[in-house]
Each structure stands twice: as structure tokens, then as C-alpha cells.
């Protein structure tokens, strides 16, 4: 059986019916990873032994007739910025090259409690700071659709693993588009949940007020499943929401007749690849044919979102990464004094982009600059949020592009961080506003590269986004297309 193109739901069916053992399932994906990862570089760490142990124990429990979890035997890949007990967690940094957490992130804990099998940790931009998973320490992750191109980032490893069939689904994290953009580049479904919907406990922080853990999957249906497992209040995360988690799966099948979809025409103008514009227009036609109504809306402050994001995120990062000082769990550079130890450790074990953002953030928070930068950015953030509140009072969700272009050749952004930042133009607003946003494939360009469509919704209305995505995926086959 070629399990590599199966969705998580199809695999769970086989596992539940015991037509496929967990050991065979996990064995299959591990073997495929061993075969293809050297080329793709999707995984940083493959958990061969613990995954097989876990799989065998689930098979035994099944044979004994014990109840097993909802994801029993299903392999899951987890971004390496998410802590896994006993499995090295580097966040893509040499600083944490040898760090083995002694606790699980809450999202991981919930996966394990559902008997999902952790098969490995996926590549990422260092500490999530980047959009291409071109990592100065651990190499570049390649896009399964075209190995000369990037998989996107920062959750590029998770996207490449799922697109390449090394894992049926994965967890990523999204601070400014880090789930949605690689999902778009790799023809996958990727959801950034509402801020507070999924616990951040155990997510190695880049920009705490912006980021969420979320699914990267082959379908909206699989994303709904992963959300049902991982979402929900966590007393260990003070910013996690108290409200109950919706039954996403149940809502997938509701039709979207009469649903009001907002379209921001500014997002279809200058800067957007024309092929993406065409693909999106077709996708809107499909949604219309399903009974949705299209409404033009305005997001007047959206053009300032990237600027605000690239102040707030580095500011938070400058504090979040201060703990990597060589004193405790990180690597430590040889030195003769404390100050030298700090500066050598941080100079040697952080990459360029991380150092750039730490410096940006440190500068922007410095005495005399705070009002000019951090405070102003926070004001823009409120305006961006207000734009969404206004728009989403009128419509049920917004539809637009995920990215201005499709996957770029490797190396394109190497010396041009500003272009890389600007490519976040459609995704960062949802992080600033804390609203849920989903990317699903809606076509391919002339090079055969996937195109992503972004759905953005009201706070905690993941169910609406997943429902619309699922209904769309019932009418189209972009999500089932595989590389080759």
C-alpha cells in the first residue's frame, strides 16, 4: 500500500479496522523518511526507536481489546520549536543543538494522550524567524514540488514532510504566517488558530503575543481532527482561552449557502502574482456556486501591518531569546569573563537573522525609542484589529491570497531580508489581530507550483473556516494533488 498519499482520516480508518498495524504504519513512514529526508531535509530529528516502541505498545493494547485514543497509531511530525520530552528540541538553532526538554508542550501531550505517534521533529527557520526554512545551522529544507525551491517557513519542515508523504500530518507554529505560507507553498491545508485557542506552553517563544501552534495537513478534515485534539484551555498558559472547543468535524458538512464572504480588493492589486489572482477568482466562483455571497470589504490599515509586525515581533524576541545566555541548558562558548561568555555564546550560536531581529527589538525598546517604535506599532496593531472587527461584523469570513507569489528558488532571499519580510504582507494581519486564518490550495502556477488561498475569520470561528475549506475541497481536487 502506498500510504504516503493517504489522509490522516484514511489511515485512522485502516488502523481502527486493524487492516494496518500501528507498527506497519509507523514503519512505513520511517522508511520513507530514511529514504527521502536526505534530499528534502524535512526532519531535523527522526524518533525511530521511541516511535516504534509507541506503535508496538498501541498494537498490543489493541490486541488486548483495550480502548485506544482517537489518533491511535497515527504518525505525526512536530515542528522543532515545540518541546518534546526526551526528544531533542533545537528550535532550529545551534544554541539548542543539544537541548532535550524534560517536559512536553501541552499540544504534544494532548497528541500523545490521543495515542498519536511522534515520528520526528521538523526543520524550521531558526526560532521561527524566517519564511523559507533556509537554516544557517542545519541546511535548507526543499520543496517536494520542486527541490530547487524552498518549502516556505518557518514551519517548512512540517510542510515538506506532509507534502513529501513522510508524515500524514504535522504541527507547525505561526507567528506571522509560518503555518499558512509553507502550507501554500507545498499545496497543503494550514491553520493558524485564534490567539489563545491552542496552548503555547512548550512552544519555544519567538513573539509571544502573536504566535499559535496549529495543524499542517492534507485536508480541512484532518486539520479539524488535529484541532479537536490539541485545542482547549490549558491552566499552564495564562493566555489560553477558557471557552470550550467546537466540534469542528461535525460542522464540516454544513453547507455554506448564504454565508457572506468578504473580499478585500486591495489584496488583488499590485504585488500579487497574476496567476494567483486568476486562481483565486476561480476559487471565489466555486464558493459562490456553493451559495456564498461575495461582499467587498475594506481593511484600511492593512498596508501598515508588516511594519508593525516587524517592530512588535523583534521586540518580544529580544526578551524571549535573552534566556539563551550560555548559563543553563544552552551551549556555552569558551571565555574568560562573564560578559565575554555572554557575547561569544550569543555571537557564535545564533544565526544572522536571529541576531538581526534581536538587535532590531533591543533598539526599538531602548530608552527614547519606545514611543517611536513599540508604542506606535501597538497602536497600528489596534487599528488593524479594529479593521477586522468592522469587516467581520458585516461578513462571516474573508477570502484572499496567502502569499504574493509561489515558492521561490532556494537562495533568493539570502541577502534580501526586506523582500522576505514584505512577502508576509497577507498573513501578518491575522497574527496582529489574533484572529484565525487558514490556507488551502486553490490551483497551481505555470511551473506546477501550488497556490494558496487564505480564509480569515472571527475570533474562535475556526469552525467556519474549516467548514468553508471542507466544502470547497469537496468540489475541487487541489488538496489531493501530490508532487510528481
Amino acid at each position: 500500500m502506498d500510504l504516503s498519499s493517504f489522509s490522516a482520516h484514511q489511515l485512522i480508518d485502516l488502523l481502527d479496522r486493524q487492516e494496518l498495524s500501528a507498527a506497519d504504519c509507523v514503519g512505513y513512514f520511517l522508511a520513507r523518511t530514511d529514504d527521502q529526508n536526505p534530499e528534502l531535509n524535512a526532519f531535523l530529528t527522526v524518533a525511530h526507536e521511541s516511535a516504534m516502541d509507541q506503535a508496538r505498545s498501541i498494537d498490543q493494547r489493541r490486541q488486548r481489546g483495550e480502548t485506544v485514543g482517537r489518533m491511535a497509531g497515527l504518525p505525526v511530525a512536530v515542528k522543532d520549536g515545540i518541546c518534546t520530552e526526551g526528544i531533542r528540541t533545537t528550535a532550529g538553532s545551534r544554541m539548542l543543538e543539544e537541548f532535550v526538554p524534560f517536559y512536553n508542550a501541552t499540544a504534544v501531550q494532548r497528541l500523545l494522550e490521543a495515542d498519536a505517534i511522534l515520528i520526528g521533529k521538523t526543520m524550521m527557520d531558526e526560532f521561527g524567524m524566517g519564511s523559507s526554512t533556509e537554516n544557517p545551522h542545519f541546511g535548507n529544507t526543499r520543496n517536494p514540488w520542486d527541490p530547487q525551491r524552498v518549502a516556505g517557513g518557518s514551519s517548512g519542515g512540517s510542510a515538506a514532510a506532509v507534502a513529501g508523504g513522510l508524515a500524514p500530518l504535522a504541527l507547525g507554529s505561526d507567528t506571522g504566517g509560518s503555518i499558512r505560507q509553507p502550507a501554500a507553498f507545498c499545496g497543503l491545508t494550514g491553520l493558524k488558530p485564534t490567539y489563545g485557542r491552542v496552548s503555547r506552553y512548550g512552544l519555544i517563544a519567538y513573539a509571544s503575543s502573536l504566535e499559535q501552534i496549529g495543524p499542517i495537513t492534507r485536508s480541512a478534515q484532518d486539520a479539524a481532527l488535529l484541532m479537536e485534539i490539541c485545542a482547549g484551555h490549558d491552566p499552564s498558559d495564562s493566555t489560553s482561552a477558557q471557552r470550550a472547543v467546537d466540534d469542528y468535524t461535525h460542522q464540516l458538512d454544513s453547507d455554506i449557502q448564504g454565508l457572506r464572504i468578504g473580499v478585500c480588493r486591495d489584496h488583488f492589486g499590485t504585488g500579487l502574482d497574476s496567476e494567483i489572482g486568476v486562481a483565486l477568482q476561480e476559487a471565489l466562483n466555486v464558493l459562490q456556486s456553493l451559495g456564498a455571497k461575495l461582499v467587498d470589504i475594506e481593511l484600511p490599515h492593512a498596508s501598515h501591518a508588516v511594519a508593525a509586525y516587524y517592530v512588535i515581533a523583534p521586540c518580544e524576541a529580544s526578551a524571549n531569546l535573552a534566556r539563551f545566555d550560555g548559563v543553563r541548558y544552552t551551549r556555552r562558548a569558551e571565555s574568560s569573563s562573564l560578559d565575554q561568555m555572554y557575547s561569544r555564546t550569543r555571537s557564535e550560536f545564533f544565526g544572522q537573522e536571529v541576531k538581526r531581529r534581536i538587535l532590531l527589538g533591543t533598539f526599538a525598546l531602548s530608552s527614547g525609542y519606545y514611543d517611536q517604535y513599540y508604542r506606535k506599532a501597538s497602536q497600528i496593531r489596534r487599528l488593524v484589529k479594529h479593521d477586522f472587527d468592522t469587516a467581520l461584523a458585516e461578513v462571516d469570513l474573508l477570502v484572499g491570497p496567502t502569499t504574493p507569489g509561489t515558492a521561490l528558488p532556494i537562495g533568493q532571499w539570502e541577502d534580501d531580508p526586506l523582500s522576505m519580510y514584505l512577502a508576509d504582507v497577507y498573513t501578518v494581519s491575522a497574527n496582529l489581530a489574533g484572529i484565525p486564518a487558514l490556507s488551502i490550495p486553490c490551483g497551481t502556477d505555470a511551473n506546477g507550483l501550488p497556490i494558496g488561498m487564505q480564509l480569515q475569520g472571527r475570533p474562535f470561528a475556526e469552525s467556519t473556516l474549516l467548514q468553508v475549506a471542507h466544502q470547497y475541497q469537496q468540489q475541487t481536487d487541489f488538496h489531493t494533488r501530490r508532487p510528481d
Partner: protein, 489 residues
């Protein structure tokens, strides 16, 4: 040059709040455990770990704020204070910058002995923050490794900041003494300076008035103050030092940077530690991992009810209800709320505050000091104490023998009756006293005659005879009774 010199002092007091667990995690705050045993991912600053507020710490902070007449912030928030230090695990401290939980309060200082004028000390703010860990360095000079203990990291601190309202070392010490008394009475902190649960920094400079002009000297922050006495000495030293410095270089607050100086208790001097040029820019910004905390009126009222009478109220109460002097009231209140309760329980039925106050101040306090005990451990119950003082009050037990009785009650933990029995003291009933007095009057007509003729000293002879009949009689009562019988015949 003639000018008026005033020493201007503001204090920053760090109080470790006596919570079960740390400010942002469930680890124990107990002092003295083996290094790095009370730690978890959160207080270690492990990657991905997140803080969760300990509500008890917030409640205690509100209690202190209310006791210090502060406004309580209804939407208090958290900020990150960024600096690198090996015992600061996250590279930032979670503190409160622009919306502290308590602000704009005051504490009134009244010195019954009038060493200084009554003074209202404004409390600028009191905010919550987490403590850092503890570094220990090789001080042998052999260049050994420094060690870090993170047991203390994350312990809740309340930083209380006064306005520069204090004017002398004596006042600063009085302020701290009163503050400590309030905190101990509230049971929010053990205020143990040796264990670091109360830490004080003092900001000191001089205001020199020359005609209409006031000149301020550069501000000095004094650290490493290990006792209230050190605070007093350091301020007095610093006041003198700054005066000399000013006479030498004439530099004002605008012409010299703020200095940090450490107090050296042995040499009795402050020593330069650093100037402001190399002090950190803390780059405060809102802590994204913690939500704004809303406090409601009901919450503040509930907490307010737990505060009970403050020392100033207790002193006023003791003075008005028990007719104590300000000094006596001060001494009693200074011993803490339980001691005042003990006093009141005894003084109420006896209706003689001064008598009770004297016995507590002399016998009880001496005993507690010797034993290094507090009033909860005092071996004599209030009931026994009342019974004892009733004997004293009625004259059935005189003061000097009373002291011997109390001694036995305290030290051998005997009951009142047992103590008296052991000392061979039996209270003399009124009938018996009367009988003894009549007997000596009848047996000594000569002496009676002498007394009638005005030689009142002669009554001493009769008292002596009465004591021979029963050594437990109170001489004062015998005298009174004899004179009385002589009048009535």
C-alpha cells in the same frame, strides 16, 4: 557660607511575600532547602515554559496596599524588565512598570519621644515582581566557579517605594520599624532581613537653602543595608559625606551622575559601586505571557476586612480605652498584634491598664526576650494572669512577692496556686486581716497612743507584729486597716 541643610531620603523596600508557592509557578518558597531543589521549567526559564499568576501573592499585595492607604489598581498589568545576570533565568524579570498594583498611599510616623516631628511619608507605589536566584562566588581568590541557586528565583516580592519624604536616619529607621510592624501584623511576610525577606535601598541627597535658592546635591543610592540600624548609620554617614563633598567640589544634582554606593558595616562607610553611566536601560515592555489582572471593588473589600486594626489605631485605642501613656502604648503595640490581644484580654476585666502594662513590659517582655520567644509561646495563660493580677490589685499579694510568684509561673510553668504554695504564700482573706489588725491594736495600746499623738511612723511596729502573726499580710493593707479601725474605734 551659611545655609540650611536638609537630608532628603526616599526608600525602596523589597518585601518577600509569605506565599506557599512562587509568583508564577507552583514551586515552594521555603527558605533553606538544598540548592536547586525547588525549581521547575517555569522558574528555570526553560524554553517554552510560561508563567501563571499566583493569586495569593496578589491578594497579599493588595492587603499591604490597603494598610498603607494606597489606591489599588483595577487593571494591573505585568512588564518585562530586561537585563542579563546569571541568576536571572529568563534574562528578564517579570515586574510591574506603569500600572503597579498599589500607588499613592502614605504612612504616618509619630514619635512619642519626639526625636522628630510627626511626619506623613507618601508611598509612591508598591508593585509585585519575581525575585532572582542567588549567586555565590569563590571569594578565596582561587578563581573557583561561581554557583547559582534558583530556589529563590520566582519568589514574590513587593517593592514599596516612598516619596523622598524622610529627613534623617532616625526617621528612616522609624519608618522601617513601623512598616515592618504593619507587615508582621498582616502576616504577609516574615520580614527576616538575614534571610533576605526584607531588603532596603535608600536614596539620599541634600537640599541646601541659600537665601531663596535651594540647591540639590547628586543623588546616591545606598545598597547592601543589612539592618535598620545600618540604614540609619548609612544615611547619617552619607549626609555628612555629601556635605563634605559639596564643600569640596560644589557639584549639584545636574552636574554629577547618580551613584550607587554600598554600605560597609564594619568600616561604617559607604563605598562607590557604580555611576549611572554604566547602569542598565531595562527596556520595559508589557509582558505578553500574562493577561491584565482585574480587581473588583468586592475583592478589595473582602481583602480590606482581613486587615484588622493598624498599629496607629491600636496605639490610639490603648491610650483612650486603657489610659495608657503614648510611650506605654507604643511599647505594647510594637510587640505585635498577638501581644496587644494578650494585653487587652487581661486589662479588660481588671480595668487597670497601667498595672497590666507594667507587668507585661517588665516581667513578661524580659522573660520573652531571655527565651527568644514570642507571646504565643508564653507559658502563663491569660486566665492565670488575670487571677494573679487580681491578687496584686486587691493587695493580697504584694509586688515584690508577686514577682517571685510570676517567676515560678513562667519558668517552672506552675499554676498560680502551685507557685504560691511552693513559696509558702497564702492570700490573706479580708476577715483574717481584720482580725490580725484588731489583735495588734488591742495588744499595743502604747503604740496606738503614740500614733494618735501624731507619730505615724509608729504604725511600722504594728505592721511588723502583724507580719509575725501571718507573713502573707500586705503591709500597705495592714497600715490602711489599722488607721481605719483607729478612726472608727
Amino acid at each position: 557660607m551659611s545655609c540650611e541643610k536638609a537630608t532628603i531620603i526616599g526608600l525602596e523596600v523589597h518585601v518577600q511575600l509569605d506565599t506557599q508557592s512562587k509568583l508564577f509557578c507552583g514551586c515552594s518558597t521555603r527558605f533553606g532547602a538544598p540548592p536547586n531543589t525547588h525549581i521547575c521549567p517555569v522558574c528555570l526559564g526553560a524554553p517554552g515554559a510560561l508563567p501563571v499568576l499566583n493569586r495569593q501573592a496578589l491578594d497579599l499585595a493588595i492587603q499591604v496596599g490597603l494598610a498603607l492607604n494606597c489606591e489599588i489598581e483595577t487593571n494591573t498589568k505585568w512588564d518585562r524588565k530586561n537585563y542579563f545576570y546569571p541568576d536571572l533565568p529568563k534574562g528578564y524579570q517579570i515586574s510591574q512598570f506603569d500600572r503597579p498594583i498599589c500607588a499613592n498611599g502614605y504612612l504616618d510616623l509619630i514619635d512619642p519621644e519626639a526625636h522628630f516631628a510627626d511626619r506623613r511619608v507618601q508611598i509612591e507605589r508598591a508593585h509585585l515582581e519575581e525575585d532572582a536566584g542567588k549567586s555565590s562566588h569563590d571569594e578565596t581568590g582561587a578563581g573557583g566557579s561561581s554557583k547559582i541557586d534558583l530556589n529563590r528565583a520566582g519568589t514574590p516580592l513587593l517593592e514599596i517605594v516612598t516619596r523622598p519624604d524622610l529627613r534623617s536616619g532616625t526617621e528612616a529607621k522609624a519608618f522601617l520599624t513601623e512598616l515592618k510592624l504593619i507587615l508582621s501584623n498582616l502576616q504577609v511576610s516574615d520580614c527576616n532581613m538575614q534571610e533576605g525577606s526584607l531588603r532596603v535601598d535608600a536614596n539620599v541627597n541634600l537640599h541646601l537653602a541659600e537665601g531663596d535658592r535651594t540647591i540639590a546635591t547628586p543623588i546616591v543610592e545606598i545598597k547592601n543595608l543589612n539592618s535598620f540600624r545600618a540604614v540609619q548609620r548609612a544615611i547619617d554617614f552619607e549626609s555628612e559625606r555629601q556635605w563634605k563633598q559639596w564643600q569640596e567640589d560644589g557639584r549639584t544634582i545636574d552636574q554629577a551622575a547618580k551613584q550607587t554606593r554600598g554600605w560597609d558595616d564594619e568600616s561604617g562607610q559607604t563605598v562607590l559601586q557604580r555611576t549611572k553611566e554604566d547602569s542598565a536601560d531595562y527596556r520595559y515592555f508589557p509582558e505578553p505571557d500574562l493577561a491584565v489582572v482585574h480587581t473588583t471593588v468586592e475583592q478589595r473589600e473582602t481583602i480590606g476586612k482581613k486587615i484588622g486594626p493598624l498599629p496607629s489605631q491600636q496605639r490610639a485605642e490603648l491610650i483612650s480605652a486603657y489610659s495608657l501613656s503614648a510611650y506605654d502604648a507604643g511599647v505594647l503595640v510594637q510587640q505585635g498584634r498577638r501581644f496587644v490581644d494578650f494585653f487587652e484580654t487581661i486589662a479588660r476585666p481588671l480595668d487597670d491598664g497601667k498595672l497590666v502594662s507594667n507587668w507585661l513590659q517588665q516581667e513578661v517582655l524580659r522573660y520573652l526576650k531571655e527565651q527568644q520567644a514570642d507571646i504565643d509561646q508564653f507559658p502563663v495563660s491569660t486566665e492565670q494572669f488575670i487571677a494573679f493580677l487580681k491578687l496584686i490589685q486587691s493587695g493580697k499579694l504584694d509586688t515584690s512577692r508577686g514577682k517571685a510568684v510570676m517567676q515560678k509561673m513562667m519558668e517552672q510553668r506552675l499554676s498560680l496556686e502551685e507557685s504560691m504554695e511552693q513559696l509558702g504564700i497564702a492570700p490573706v482573706e479580708d476577715d483574717e486581716l481584720a482580725a490580725i489588725c484588731r489583735q495588734v491594736i488591742e495588744e499595743n495600746p502604747d503604740i496606738i497612743q503614740q500614733i494618735r499623738e501624731g507619730n505615724t511612723k509608729a504604725v511600722g511596729n504594728l505592721i511588723g507584729q502583724a507580719k509575725q502573726i501571718n507573713r502573707n499580710v500586705d503591709p500597705a493593707l495592714v497600715r490602711k486597716q489599722i488607721l481605719n479601725f483607729m478612726k472608727t474605734g
